[in-house]
């Protein structure tokens, strides 16, 4: 039996308590008086002044393995996740080969368990090869050891309404959800790399208009209602999408037989399209960085619950894939290690720690169907925990990253709220 005592942490930023963990399970929560049978724990962590949260859950991570192990592996991505306070991440399907079979899903699942730093939960592709035409083996992936529940062609939009309809219908059999990358391919074709507006006009970059996202979000919520299914809107980036989601949630609540959920990335909560003026591909991401009005709408929507979750869209890339001309460079930026700090910095005045725990742990775990994550810090629960120093400010240094990649848009920025420890089933996965 191994035991761990986290002493004097502020649970979710509210009550201060000691938390005793034995064999990966929380056995005691309260002020230890000495009579609880805690003889001498194997490890004691002094958490005075620190905040204890349930381990974070990322609905949207790119781990690049198999296929691009030079950019990230399941192991390095897991280490970066643990450093960010995560205890579970959903690994997107756009690897090479694509996660569109049970075997591919089990492979990612097993690599995650072998690394042992976070529970890596594979996302299955919606369509074979992410090509948007034929459904992937959704049921076999669901029945596999990996028990896939979230399906996404992320990186690409399921553009065909009929395919999207069938996918939404089909996953009802096993409680699945379709996470959609909302990008109408004719309104925003692949070359589109800059929010369409005055800056794309001035810079002469192919524009990616907000409406290309909004028309797909609108279509998909209607399809979810029609099919009585669950749709999850990945990386919402515009005020218009927020309005559609807000309306759809009100309808779904009345109807009761379908569901829409939504996520936002840390970068869309802070960074704006103005950063593209220097043509630095570090800031090239899909969906693109939007203007301040959209950023404000996303913050409001996260605070008021219209947006359920923060998801990183952690997208590592080898340096040489970013050292092309802007339109030719790869899309994506790192996010796992910095997500909590960015959210705490940006949203700290509008959300307390228990709300942050909801959007970064509880809700994502519920959306993904992960029963062992996003739980209360209470007796009998698995000890998946993140310990935060809420007052620590630090300057992000891309070279200090545990990721294999360096496409870090936060480099040089000062953020407040630092992860100092992470435990997965009582085992320390980050911090010392």
């Amino acid at each position: 039996m191994t035991s761990l005592l986290i002493k004097g942490a502020s649970l979710l930023g509210t009550t201060t308590a000691d938390v005793l963990v034995e064999d990966g399970v929380i056995r005691f929560v309260g002020r230890a008086s000495g009579d609880e049978g805690i003889e001498t724990p194997d490890t004691t962590v002094d958490a005075d002044g620190l905040v204890l949260l349930p381990g974070l859950v990322d609905l949207h991570t790119h781990l690049r393995e198999p296929g691009r192990e030079d950019a990230e592996t399941v192991r390095t991505g897991s280490a970066a996740a643990a450093a960010g306070g995560y205890t579970s991440v959903l690994a997107m399907a756009n690897t090479n080969p694509v996660t569109d079979t049970a075997e591919a899903a089990e492979r990612v699942y097993d690599l995650g368990r072998a690394a042992g730093l976070v529970d890596v939960q594979p996302v299955g592709a919606v369509t074979k090869g992410l090509e948007g035409h034929e459904l992937a083996e959704l049921g076999l992936m669901a029945r596999s050891r990996a028990q896939v529940r979230v399906f996404s062609d992320d990186g690409k939009c399921v553009g065909d309404a009929r395919v999207m309809r069938r996918a939404l219908e089909y996953v009802k059999a096993f409680g699945g959800v379709i996470s959609q990358h909302s990008q109408d391919p004719s309104l925003a074709p692949h070359a589109s790399c800059c929010h369409e507006g005055p800056i794309s006009g001035e810079l002469g970059l192919p524009g990616w208009p907000g409406v290309a996202e909004e028309v797909i979000v609108a279509r998909d919520v209607m399809l979810a209602r029609h099919t009585g299914s669950r749709v999850h809107v990945a990386h919402v980036s515009t005020a218009g999408s927020v309005e559609v989601v807000r309306w759809a949630k009100s309808q779904a609540e009345k109807d009761g037989h379908w569901q829409v959920t939504a996520e936002v990335t840390p970068h869309h909560l802070l960074l704006t399209t103005d950063l593209l003026r220097g043509y630095d591909p570090t800031f090239k991401v899909n969906p693109p960085l939007r203007p301040q009005e959209d950023v404000e709408a996303l913050r409001t929507a996260l605070a008021d619950g219209t947006i359920d979750a923060v998801a990183t869209d952690h997208a590592p890339h080898a340096r040489h894939d970013k050292e092309h001309a802007f339109v030719d460079a790869a899309f994506g930026m790192l996010g796992l290690e910095t997500a909590l700090s960015v959210v705490a910095t940006v949203m700290g005045e509008r959300m307390d720690w228990s709300r942050i725990a909801e959007v970064m742990s509880v809700n994502p775990a519920r959306i993904a169907g992960l029963d062992a994550h996003g739980r209360a810090i209470a007796v009998g629960e698995p000890a998946n925990l993140a310990l935060i120093d809420p007052s620590a400010s630090y300057v992000v240094d891309r070279d200090a990253s545990l990721s294999l990649s360096r496409n870090n848009p936060w480099h040089g920025r000062t953020v407040t709220g630092q992860v100092v420890g992470t435990w997965l089933r009582g085992q320390r996965t980050f911090g010392s």
Partner: protein, 315 residues
């Protein structure tokens, strides 16, 4: 003057005046029997073109040669990303041969800007995607100044495919620096995105109505600059047919008659005769299209001289 010429943002009105003064001297050299000046002897310039070009590349080549620089043309089209080489590796490889200046064209907006951050030598942007083409704007302004005198308070109309035009994006800045007023004209589908806030900030006017602009709705027009319209834009649904475009936005014989005599007509080339410009306009007495070409060499000589000869020589 700044080290690089990536955008018209890199030059001040004073820089432009200095460049024009040098260009005028260079222009005189063009008319000599022996055209070579020794100014850049022993220096090597590479014209690195990732995108096809005949006139701009030849213009830079002649400009460099008349200044006695060694000029090497390198066509890199399809040779980098298609082979998997990054842009950074391509330019570092080329410049490692030991060169003094890089003239670069690329189909991607911002490419010259990115490259300049990786190199120690001056980089001259010879056109980057749909972003900027600063030497074209300088030669356009030089040509106009020679015909109109000062551009202060003059009204220039720029007409055509603005969305895809780097010439427009550079000209809007250079004309503003020289005190000109600009009205840009295009169908709504070929107006750049976000042109409303942008034009308000940059101080130019926009219109969908070419006849109204030429009739003086926005003040008398002192010069017209036609932009090339690529026929392939029709497949993108930007306008229905060539004939409809011409009726709405071409400088037709009828519109030519609306101009005051002596109003300069410019076009950066290559022209689509019969589409955006009628032969009557292209060959009119007031057409400065060939003057632009000869001015192009003089202006590029001035740019190469100012950026490569060293400050002492230029003084």
């Amino acid at each position: 003057m700044k080290k690089h010429l990536l955008s018209i943002d890199d030059v001040t009105a004073d820089d432009i005046a200095a460049l024009f003064e040098t260009a005028a001297e260079m222009h005189d050299v063009q008319r000599r029997e022996v055209k070579k000046l020794p100014a850049l002897r022993g220096r090597t310039v590479i014209n690195l073109f990732f995108e096809d070009s005949t006139r701009t590349r030849s213009s830079f080549e002649i400009a460099g040669k008349w200044l006695s620089a060694d000029v090497i043309n390198l066509s890199a089209k399809g040779s980098s990303t298609s082979k998997g080489e990054s842009l950074r590796d391509t330019v570092l490889t080329v410049t490692a041969m030991g060169i003094d200046g890089l003239v670069m064209r690329h189909s991607a907006s911002g490419a010259a800007h990115q490259v300049a951050q990786w190199l120690d030598i001056p980089v001259i942007n010879a056109g980057d995607g749909t972003h900027e083409h600063p030497t074209q704007a300088l030669l356009d302004a030089y040509t106009l100044v020679r015909h109109l005198g000062s551009l202060e308070g003059k009204h220039v109309a720029i007409i055509g495919d603005l969305t895809h035009s780097r010439v427009f994006r550079s000209n809007i800045k250079s004309l503003a620096k020289l005190g000109a007023r600009v009205t840009v004209v295009a169908p709504p589908t070929l107006m750049p995105s976000g042109v409303g806030p942008w034009s308000a900030e940059a101080g130019f006017a926009t219109s969908y109505d070419l006849d109204g602009v030429l009739a003086g709705d926005n003040g008398p027009v002192d010069a017209v600059m036609m932009l090339r319209v690529q026929k392939e834009r029709m497949s993108g649904g930007y306008f229905p047919t060539a004939r409809e475009y011409t009726v709405g936005y071409g400088l037709t014989r009828g519109r030519l008659a609306m101009l005051q005599p002596g109003t300069p007509i410019l076009h950066p080339g290559p022209m689509n005769r019969g589409l955006e410009i009628s032969p009557d306009a292209a060959d009119a007495a007031d057409s400065l299209i060939l003057d632009q070409v000869s001015a192009g060499v003089a202006v590029r000589m001035a740019v190469l001289y100012h950026l490569l000869a060293g400050e002492e020589a230029v003084q």
